[in-house]
């Protein structure tokens, strides 16, 4: 890679987190210093100023998702929102039932909340997905029981960008009178997300995935028809209509609001630009042999592509270009666990293809030049790693790798 001219590290991991938009930072700054008040202080100007800022941000977030501002509950992020939606509904609706339906490819914040609910006596059905990452609507409907309280399906998947059929799921939930919760962390601010239009009653979001600050997010909670409530998981001063106590993170919330407003105005154009760049990246990389895109190409976020480079291990591959490009891999070797991506495994990818996967997620600040550079660097890396790969050599010799007797360890 020495022949390529040195450039700054290119960030193609925007699904992990996005940089703050400078306009967001600018909006936040006064709220650290001169406007530092506690939004719950009702007796003086400092408090009123802070409260006003929070109210304004709430309007900005509500406008983005076309809901009433009173339906937006601020939290510390999507992890907390997921926990609050699931555990809070489980507690609140205990009398109705104890069954929840979710999907195997959900984020850990959802899956682990469900595990906890099972420990608390709840029952959870984990739906399968097909090889493109889509749930089966008939299987969903068949899983609904008289004691089902909630269906939890994420809007867009963080690893593959696959978008679930939200409208159809919403109709099924409405027909059976069960709540529909969606973790929309990866979709909000990037594609139109209107929970009311598709019958979503609870929805998690996070500022740091949409060019806002880390440590702030929200839960949308439907107010009318049906009036949804969740039991607080954090007890204290009764902030956020009693659903989430704790002094509000005013600068963070202001930043979230600003990020939402920017997204609302710029989303359409940005999505178009990013999908063009994503397609360019994808087409460039698919020129390599034995390279496959993971996830439904017809129902996918515009800025994401997840690609398996067969017979190359993801972490090793990333090491060839991690001075130039930042991405993430579904390979086990990148995480502390030794299991490859459970999302890709649930889609029926073999462990070998899951180990060979790289997720590229573009963002607001990605340029065409960076994409072209990435194509070059990744292609070089793949070719280099294949020269080092014994299974690539075996594949090239026409050996059927399925028939080799491997020594598992």
């Amino acid at each position: 890679m020495d022949t390529m001219e040195k450039k700054k590290l290119i960030y193609l991991d925007n699904n992990a987190t996005t940089p703050c938009d400078p306009r967001v930072v600018e909006a936040m700054l006064p709220y650290f210093t001169e406007k530092f008040g506690n939004a719950a202080s009702r007796s003086h100007e400092f408090g009123w100023v802070a409260e006003e800022a929070v109210d304004y941000a709430r309007e900005q977030v509500a406008a983005l998702i076309e809901t009433d501002a009173r339906e937006v509950i601020f939290t510390s992020g999507a992890t907390e929102s997921d926990n609050l939606a699931l555990k809070g509904a489980f507690e609140m609706y205990a009398r109705k039932g104890k069954h929840i339906i979710t999907v195997k490819t959900e984020h850990k914040a959802v899956l682990d909340s469900c595990r906890r609910i099972e420990k608390m006596g709840g029952e959870v059905t984990y739906l399968d997905v097909d090889h493109q990452g889509m749930i089966d609507l008939e299987a969903l409907e068949a899983a609904i029981r008289p004691d089902t309280i909630m269906v939890a399906v994420m809007w867009a998947n963080n690893e593959t960008g696959v978008i679930q059929p939200m409208k159809e799921i919403g109709e099924i939930c409405a027909r059976h009178g069960v709540l529909f919760f969606s973790d929309a962390t990866q979709a909000v601010g990037k594609i139109p997300v209107k929970p009311k239009e598709v019958g979503v009653h609870l929805m998690a979001m996070s500022a740091h995935k949409m060019y806002g600050p880390k440590g702030v997010g929200a839960l949308f909670v439907n107010r009318k028809a049906p009036r949804v409530k969740v039991t607080a998981q954090m007890d204290g001063g009764g902030h956020e209509r009693g659903m989430r106590s704790g002094t509000l993170n005013v600068p963070g919330i202001v930043g979230f609001g600003q990020a939402a407003e920017i997204a609302r105005k710029e989303m359409a154009e940005e999505a178009q630009r990013l999908s063009r760049l994503r397609d360019r990246l994808e087409q460039g990389l698919l020129k390599l042999e034995e390279t496959y895109v993971n996830g439904n190409p017809d129902s996918r976020m515009p800025h994401v592509t997840n690609i398996s480079f067969k017979h190359v291990e993801g972490e090793g591959l990333m090491m060839t270009f991690n001075k130039e490009i930042a991405v993430s891999s579904g390979s086990a070797c990148t995480s502390a666990s030794l299991e490859p991506s459970y999302v890709l495994i649930a889609m029926g990818l073999g462990d070998d293809l899951a180990h060979s996967s790289i997720r590229f997620s573009l963002g607001r600040f990605t340029t065409e030049e960076e994409v072209d550079y990435a194509i070059e660097a990744v292609s070089k890396g793949v070719n280099h790693m294949r020269e080092l790969s014994p299974i690539w050599e075996m594949y090239k010799e026409g050996i059927n790798l399925e028939e080799v007797e491997w020594s598992e360890h």
Binding site: M319, P390, W392, E408
Partner: protein
């Protein structure tokens, strides 16, 4: 996780990448790991039949950076060693040399396994097993 300088060096300039002629009687091949586990290592030795000294060693590895570095280092250590001495190469020596963190110890284990498998294959071919 940051990689040690030594891992990076072996990763960026892997030593002795390649393939020896399996059909030769004095070549031993060890293939360990599995694609499903995310790591496959193939290590080959060519032995001088007169002296029992390993005169060449080659590897190919599908795996993370530490696995590639471990096998590259292993081939360096193997060259010029009598096979009996080569059998004594211990994975912890690789861990120490490459400063591998605990989660990467299994990559070094794989290298030790590959060495043992290659020597065993050589011995089998030559009626010494």
């Amino acid at each position: 996780m940051a990689y040690s300088e030594k891992v990076l060096d072996h990763f960026n300039n892997p030593r002795n990448v390649g393939t020896l002629d399996k059909s030769k009687k004095n070549v031993g091949t060890g293939l360990v790991g599995a694609p499903e586990c995310g790591d496959v290592m193939r290590l080959q030795i060519e032995v001088d039949e007169e002296t029992g000294i390993i005169k060449d060693a080659k590897f190919k590895t599908f795996g993370c950076g530490s696995a590639i570095a471990s096998s590259s280092l292993a081939t360096e250590w193997l060259k010029g060693k009598p096979i009996e001495e080569a059998l004594e190469i211990d994975n912890m020596a690789i861990v120490e040399e490459l400063e591998l963190p605990p989660v990467k110890i299994h990559c070094s284990v794989l290298a030790e396994d590959a060495i043992k498998a290659a020597i065993e294959d050589y011995k089998k071919k030559n009626g010494q097993a």
